[in-house]
Symmetry: C2
Subunit: 329 residues, 2 copies
Amino acid sequence: MKKFINAPEQVEDQMIQGMVKAYPQYLRKLDCGNVVVRSNKKEGKVALISGGGSGHEPAHGGYVGEGMLDAAVAGAVFTSPTPDQVYEGIKAIATDAGVLMVIKNYTGDVMNFEMAAEMAQADGIAVKQVVVNDDVAVKDSLYTVGRRGVAGTIFVHKIAGALAETGADLDAVTDVAQKVIDNVRTMGAAIRPCTVPAAGKPGFELGEDEMEVGIGIHGEPGTHREKIKPADEIVDMLLEQILADIDYSGSEVAVMVNSAGATPLMELYIIYNRVADVLAQKGISVYKALVGEYMTSIEMEGFSISLLKLDDQLKGLLDAGADTPAFKA
Amino acid sequence: MKKFINAPEQVEDQMIQGMVKAYPQYLRKLDCGNVVVRSNKKEGKVALISGGGSGHEPAHGGYVGEGMLDAAVAGAVFTSPTPDQVYEGIKAIATDAGVLMVIKNYTGDVMNFEMAAEMAQADGIAVKQVVVNDDVAVKDSLYTVGRRGVAGTIFVHKIAGALAETGADLDAVTDVAQKVIDNVRTMGAAIRPCTVPAAGKPGFELGEDEMEVGIGIHGEPGTHREKIKPADEIVDMLLEQILADIDYSGSEVAVMVNSAGATPLMELYIIYNRVADVLAQKGISVYKALVGEYMTSIEMEGFSISLLKLDDQLKGLLDAGADTPAFKA
């Protein structure tokens, strides 16, 4: 294992410490483990919390700030945070307007966030939740009952966060988060694995000419393996699955081409070039494109495409101001 | 070679096309090759142009927009753009206030930008230039007489771009660009090489426990090779060289921890964690930190640290608004 780290057991702590030191204007770390909250708590609004295992940076700490999240909880790499961690995060950000939990659909995450919510509710804090399940590749995977939650989660942070910032109530913020979930679909592929520091070796292996299609953000298996193809053909294959799942025809969409961590921007732009052409051919209009590292898998080399079907409400909230370490609008 | 591309000879064109399709609100491509300019030309201000070989994305097209560049010229991967390309870029953005060229110090870039400037001057366009040479690792390297220009270039784009946006004249914008160059120093290291698509194989090789210290942004040799060490020790080694080159003591600095392309954010934050501690110990105050992909080397796995010594003028211009695909402030 060749990485810029000090010791595998220090990775999560030192990463979070580095993030907080880099962005003190946005982030403050709680004393109870790797939970980051906004450095300036904003009262009177619904507070948003998300999180999950580490290894998906900048998710989720990079999205803590004005117009997005109020707290992010980081477990060990690819491991759900504990209920206690989530509970401390909820308590730190809770306002009279309540708390919305944005959970990616993994069994451990859902269970631990729900336990934390029960603890918080016992304290009199109003807590609601949404579960993101945007990955069209597989149903009932290694760590999930139902579809997995992947890069589409960032759209939930952005849009629900923007509505919360306006002072909307907990039901309204929950509803718009669910509306994003109902309208976003994602699928990815990868050509090189990643190594969890504590494991010391890659989570899977691929032949020199192979790719994993429909891969998950922890390197879990997708729909199948096949020989790597030209980028345009890979894009066509992923888009076909996404477009078969929701009727996007005639609509405006936000597109995210997300790096799994090690894919160079050069390749993401080549991928986007094809995405744009295919959508134009199908009469789907791109309202906004995001190309970069949004929900990574350490240094996996791969990408995902997300399409979010928009209406006027979602467009306005997508465009609304956001000021966080990893997302500014 | 395993990459998300269609064909090596299409990489540059498809990348630029994808970038322009993703960001039509910021970018327009000229018909004469891979030159991108602001989609809305702003008259009455000094216009900034930069560029170089492709492979450093988001540099430089990602920095075209309000408060930074007016044009970016992209050569083939790791190859200088031609004088004709640069000349077309200058003509497209030139205003009565003149044009400033921000050139990274590589022999081919300097020569071709200077030839373009002569052509533009013959047309009556006022053109000045600065040459960025922030890399403290080596003098007189493979492609350079003098020090190489690397990630510190982004600070020149940001700060000179901000002053240009205020309507300052060409001399003033040139002077502040040179002031940034005089006050910024960078050094990097890498643990895995990158592959130029047209070459089809890595530009260099490293043993499974080796790193290249002081590496350039095209993978050119640095000061030496040695066994990989804990991240903190690598940071200490790089900072020692940087801090020996300028007296930063007692000053405020902007810090950039820049990914060479494939280094996960997790590791960049671990690196920043040490940078922050060392600077604090030395009484150097961090005014602003930037951690991410700013000047990459395709999918090289490595990073660089840049320190920019600030005064009140530079702080104000660093904080000023910027709205580009890759940099928002």
